[in-house]
């Protein structure tokens, strides 16, 4: 990461700051997620320097950019996972389905049922496969066993894991392979039936075959869910996403249709990054 930073330092940024340049007109109509004037600090360090962005329902939006550019921080604004950082401070609005989720009255637990998250490292609970998937339902106080059974099966099928685990649902989630664990984590998220799924580099710890499986899954899931994915893998972004946002040093440099970003980016920095000249 240090080396990465040095290379960046050598290239001064001359281009003007563009904050959330939304080009696709469909994004302006009833966006699923609408961010305006977001600024984030960790103590004295400003991680997000004022970003506006609209994210469309039932689409896959990829966040790309070098490490430390703020893309993960920005992603975690959508389900308020930054709240646990003691020095976290935020300005601006994040609206989901038109409601600002940073209002005082907002129930964070309710929000997270609507906005699920899959993490970089597969992180199943040290419980059985069944308990892992049922966790989100049980903490909602749901006790109907039949309902839970059905939801667990449905979620595991959606995550394309059912056939591999249906005979030993009582086995520990930690006994699965890395790729299976990540699909278990996706199933766990799906069981709560959110409308948005955030994915923070979900395949960076996985082998190519497991990665391909997850990518197929994302393609399937976008029919029902709005997916936002952070990735370091350019090919992945171009393969699976409809829109791509390029972040750099806490700013949104460019945001457009994935095809445009990868074939005809309007910013030199974006081009340099996606062609591998830095980052």
């Amino acid at each position: 990461m240090a080396a990465e930073m040095e290379i960046i330092m050598e290239k001064p940024i001359k281009e003007p700051k563009i904050l959330g340049s939304v080009i696709d007109p469909s994004l302006k109509k009833k966006p699923k997620i609408e961010v305006t004037g977001s600024k984030v600090w960790y103590g004295d360090f400003q991680a997000i320097k004022g970003i506006d962005m609209n994210i469309k329902a039932n689409s896959v939006t990829a966040f790309i950019g070098p490490s430390g550019c703020g893309k993960s921080t920005f992603l975690r604004l959508f389900n308020r996972m930054n709240d646990y950082v003691d020095t976290f401070k935020m300005e601006g609005k994040v609206k989901i389905d038109g409601k600002n989720i940073y209002k005082k009255k907002v129930n964070v637990e309710e929000l997270r049922k609507e906005v699920g998250m899959v993490f970089q490292k597969p992180n199943p609970f040290p419980k059985s496969i069944f308990e892992n998937v049922a966790y989100g339902l049980k903490i909602q106080g749901i006790k109907d066993k039949k309902f839970i059974d059905e939801r667990v099966e449905k979620a595991l099928r959606q995550a394309d894991l059912w056939n591999e685990v249906k005979d030993n649902l009582k086995k520990s989630g930690l006994a699965l392979s890395g790729g299976q664990q990540q699909r278990l984590c996706i199933a766990r998220t799906l069981a709560v039936e959110p409308s948005i799924i955030l994915m923070d580099e979900p395949t960076s710890a996985l082998d190519p075959i497991s990665t391909a499986k997850i990518e197929e899954l994302i393609f399937e899931l976008k029919k029902k869910y709005t997916i936002v994915i952070v990735t370091h893998n350019m090919q992945q972004a171009s393969r699976i996403s409809d829109f791509t946002a390029f972040f750099y040093m806490g700013e949104l440099i460019e945001f457009d249709k994935t095809k445009t970003i990868f074939t005809n980016p309007s910013k030199k920095q974006t081009e340099n990054y996606i062609t591998g000249r830095f980052g």
Partner: protein
């Protein structure tokens, strides 16, 4: 080449020094245990455990002191465990990390190092006199609870810190509240570490003498305590009392009581090790 050889020699020197230092502790411990066993082992039988104290060494037993120790242990567990664990959870999960919490943290660690007799004096003033509990099992347990609270709190915090944040994040991300996350994820995952800490703290409490003497535990009690308000003695005080007697028979009794006390401590430490291993296996 030369410097490599030099380093090798240094390495060897340190190695042997390390072996020597380790040996000091082990040799001394085995000499001590051997000595105690020679003196006390033949004195141990069922009568020794079930007899009341007496003026005659061969008729004397540890029943009252053993019962006193068990009472103290149970009450101390009941008092210190919930308070210490709750305080640890609060400090780790709810308390904001700022200057004040930093000062608090340092002071809790310092409290763990305060000489136990100071706790005895505190117990004497607060529990025995102000709260008017007298020289009772309850006053003794409260005093020992104060003594081990810092250890329990620190152990709880360490155990909670060791829970992978990825699992905690996952729980929050699924819409769990703080308490649900603590109850369903953090506590199960850290229970091994917490129990280990609590048991080690209790095994320290069971060997404490000074604070209980100050609080007013008796060297001679004719009956085992039957309620928390009864007077009591404990094993270390019984041992101390016997050792200060001139007759050889009492020295033998003391050695035998020491064996019993050591067994209690070893068993408790063994349980702690068992929990730790079981807990580590689950997380690998």
């Amino acid at each position: 080449m030369n410097s490599i050889r030099k380093n090798r020699i240094k390495d060897q020197i340190f190695r042997y020094w390390g072996i020597f230092c380790t040996a000091i502790g082990l040799v001394l411990l085995s000499v001590f245990i051997g000595d105690i066993l020679i003196d006390g082992l033949r004195r141990i039988d069922w009568d020794f455990i079930t007899s009341l104290p007496s003026r005659k060494p061969e008729k004397s037993g540890i029943y009252t002191a053993l019962m006193g120790s068990i009472w103290i242990l149970l009450l101390t567990t009941i008092i210190a465990f919930p308070i210490g664990v709750a305080a640890g959870i609060y400090l780790e999960e709810y308390g904001k990390k700022n200057k004040f919490s930093g000062i608090l943290e340092i002071n809790i660690s310092n409290l763990a190092g305060v000489p136990s007799i100071i706790y005895g004096l505190l117990g004497l003033e607060v529990f025995v006199r102000i709260m008017n509990l007298g020289a009772s099992v309850l006053a003794g347990s409260l005093t020992l609870s104060l003594l081990i609270l810092p250890i329990v709190i620190v152990a709880t915090r360490e155990a909670i810190k060791a829970v992978p944040t990825s699992v905690i994040d996952a729980s929050y991300a699924l819409g769990a509240s703080k308490w649900q996350t603590i109850w369903h994820q953090i506590l199960p995952a850290s229970s091994g570490g917490i129990l280990t800490g609590v048991i080690l703290a209790l095994s320290r409490a069971v060997g404490e003498t000074a604070p209980l003497i100050v609080v007013g535990a008796l060297a001679y009690v004719p009956f085992a305590p039957e309620s928390p308000m009864d007077e009591f003695s404990v094993l270390p005080i019984q041992i101390f009392n016997w050792i200060s007697r001139p007759q050889h028979g009492f020295i033998e009794n003391a050695a035998a009581a020491i064996i019993i006390l050591l067994c209690i401590t070893f068993i408790m430490n063994g349980i702690a090790v068992y929990f730790r291993n079981k807990w580590q296996q689950k997380w690998k």
